[in-house]
Amino acid sequence: MEDLLTITQLNKSYNGHPALTNINLSIKPGEIHGLVGANGSGKTTLMNILFGNPVIQATGGYSGEICFEGRRTAIKNCAEAIRLGIGMVHQEFALIPDMTVGENIRLGREHTQAWTDRLFGCQYSFVDRQKDYTAAQQTLNRLWINLDVKLKIADLTTNLRQFVEIAREIDRTDLKLLILDEPTAVLNKRDGLKLTEILKEMSKRQIGILFISHRLEEIQQICDRVSVLRDGRLVSQYKKGSISINNLARDMIGHEVNKAAAAKRAIAKQPVISFKNFSVRMPGEEINSLDLDVHQGEILGLTSLSGHGKLAVGYGMMAMYPVDGDVYYQNSRIARMDARANIKKGLYVLPDDRQGLGIMADQSLEDNVIFTANQVKNKFVRKSALAWLGFIDRVKSQKHVTAMVQDLDIKCTSVRQAVKELSGGNQQKVCIARALTVDPQLLFVAEPTRGIDISAKEKILQMLIEINRSRNTTIVIASSELDELKRVCDRIAVMVEGKVFKILPPDSSEVEFGLALSGEEGADNEQL
């Protein structure tokens, strides 16, 4: 059978960082093609290219060839992808909240009155709402969903929204290829099964399906073929019948042999902070009733696929998002989240989004380093009758920052240089310098090496270990770079859907991590 979609030699890079390298992939009509990969493996980039997301064009386009139905195409925008017959079910839901279910399902394909069609063309023709609603209702019925099409999307639960999103694509008569991005992530098991039924039915109608999921079991059950992406490369491909969860998990993580950067040691199980039933409502990164103890003096790794909540722990402690549940810090309960109070108590967060949260780009290195310690702990204030106004003692602050620059080896022309002129790695060091100036007892670090070149990465990891060993600072590192965590951490907690799924020692095997990340309890019972 002729392929519906063929991708040959696809390459894409963002600012010189390769995101996809030499991808070759094909999908046949009626095939359910699974796609798995850890964070940063290039899944999202591949989807963005196929659905014409403007981000791709804005960052310089891609190289390689995409053939759709045998014709070479360049998909420049979403409208073009839709015209070709490509549909997409978005993880974040592309639904218009103020419109009804029926309107959303039919958006862009509304039934119109024939007579106004002739008068003004179909774009300006009167919509036959009743006919639309009937059609939408029929589509929903095909999905065995009982839902009033006149309800607004804003009033629906997440589960139902997922099905409306799918209904919109199924409703299309011209649909040839459907891309699903983690469609089962928000569904419970029963609804997940329902979805697989729907997909199988669609594949019978010769619609090609690209199915992206982290639930390996599902992939194993419904996919005709699976491709595994790792670091932007297609590392393996399995046909139905030879798909094993163990292999998928192993291929996702890869076999990188790394020496542990930190020697193994025994940590007393004395909790410095305990989370009980802790929830953080950070959009796209929620934590739901997390239970976790962090031990005094350890380096704890937190890892998960993106969207499963590893980043939200620290931000929740800084009251950046609404929180719920109990937190005990040094055996006393934190009654109300307040960033200032928590920093005073000895907590500190190194954010993942450096540009957005980590630095004041236009201000000098010196002002960046001393800011938090000065605001919260009143450090570097000039002693005088006007101390309450808080003028800075520049001699003291410059001495401190100059020492920091030397200690952390920050490359800069002077401490008065604007931070925006520094490289990513040096900016991260500025963030660490600020943390050290605050001198916390418990440090939350989010994605410490993201967007930093390799040599700087090593230094920053060493720095974290150094801080932990010499100052006895407990550190919680949330990162998707599993091999880095394995090298520095004493324990690694794997989070799935906002909860701790498993806590593994850093020397556990790739398969174990791969399975835990996907939320799979054990290995395959039987090798298929």
């Binding site: 839709i82 997409m88 862009g108 119109t112 009167f126």
Partner: protein
């Protein structure tokens, strides 16, 4: 992920504001001692004068661009067209038709320009439209106060100031007066109902209803509700927003024509100035918000707002023996309605956030 849906908040906007206006107007009417039929006739006159201008605001709100204070630009486009016709002595029906054509062409061009500007200031549309309105006002003044009679020769010297440069402050629309105004005038006792004009306003309302119920209308709603999502769904949001501004500006131009021909003469430099604020306040008085507006809000709002507008000076005179206080009350109501809408709506918007 829970979506908070403050149904109460929605009710709040839809009915509380009109209710307040009804109560205030009723009280002010009682104190003013004006006769019901006088107030009714006056309000009806304002309805046909301002109705289309208020309706011109509906589509930009639906498109998520907020209140379009730049409807003054459309108004100025029509005034320009009229002044050109008068300046070249083109009277009667051909004159008015030509004025309409020229006004519409000008406002399409200007609407396109405004649309492009607003595409660059997403999220700050309202303050930008205010500044655009003011800036165009300066350009307009430059053309007619300085340009007419110097660079641009004008055959009809009646409208030129005695010094030979610039248009007079007031220009008579005698040659167009009552061309359509008194058409189908129905009299019932003291009540006068200019049926044709009312139908015209309702016709524009029907046009907007039609637009909002086409595929294009669905796109407008989608862009207004969530621009990034609509782009993912294959809608060219920028193009939609430009088209919306063109429609709004053209309607504003037609609205200004209805306004001016009803008055019969026009103050060249001031006729358009406060139209934007009054129209916006009227729309909000009908129960619209910055995020959602319906045609019924516009139609109801014109009645409510102008009732209060007509009776309050007289009520001020009777209550405090000072008509100026009624005037202040009027401006306070106009500006205050918008200020309250801006403050309240942001709060409601927060309530809708995914939390």
């Amino acid at each position: 992920m829970i979506i908070k849906n403050p149904a109460g908040g929605r009710l709040y906007n839809e009915y509380i504001v009109p209710a307040v206006f009804i109560i205030l107007s009723f009280l002010a009417w009682q104190f003013s001692g004006l006769s019901g039929s006088f107030v009714f006739n006056q309000v009806l006159t304002r309805f046909i004068r301002d109705g289309i201008l208020v309706l011109a605001l509906v589509i930009p709100v639906v498109a998520g661009m907020g209140l379009n204070f730049a409807i003054t630009v459309g108004a100025m486009a029509m005034q320009t067209a009229l002044l050109v016709m008068i300046g070249y002595r083109i009277g009667g029906i051909p004159g008015i038709l030509l004025a309409v054509v020229l006004g519409v062409v000008l406002s399409v061009l200007l609407g396109y320009l405004i649309g492009i500007i607003l595409n660059r200031v997403k999220g700050k549309e309202m303050i930008t439209t205010i500044i655009i309105g003011f800036l165009f006002n300066s350009v307009y003044q430059l053309i007619f106060l300085v340009g007419f009679g110097t660079i641009i020769p004008v055959p009809n010297t009646d409208i030129i100031l005695t010094r030979g440069i610039g248009v007079r402050n007031t220009v008579d629309l005698g040659m167009y007066r009552n061309t359509i105004d008194k058409l189908w005038l129905i009299k019932a006792g003291q009540l006068e109902v200019p049926l044709f004009m009312i139908l015209l306003v309702l016709g524009v309302a029907a046009f907007i209803f039609y637009i909002l119920h086409t595929r294009f209308g669905q796109q407008i709603k989608a862009v207004g509700s969530s621009t990034p999502t609509s782009e993912v769904l294959g809608i060219d949001a920028k193009k939609v927003r430009i088209k919306v501004m063109i429609i709004s500006t053209v309607l504003a131009a037609l609205g200004q024509l209805a306004y001016l021909q009803n008055i019969g003469m026009f103050d060249v430099y001031t006729a358009h100035l406060t139209n934007d604020v009054i129209a916006c306040a009227a729309l909000l008085a009908g129960g619209a918000s910055i995020k959602s507006a319906k045609i019924k809000h516009a139609l109801l709002g014109v009645f409510l707002f102008h009732t209060l507008f007509i009776v309050s000076p007289q009520a001020g005179q009777n209550l405090f023996n000072n008509a100026a206080l009624g005037e202040y009350f009027r401006s306070f109501v106009a500006y205050g309605t918008i200020a309250v809408a801006l403050v309240i709506n942001v709060r409601n918007e927060d309530g809708y956030k995914v939390s």
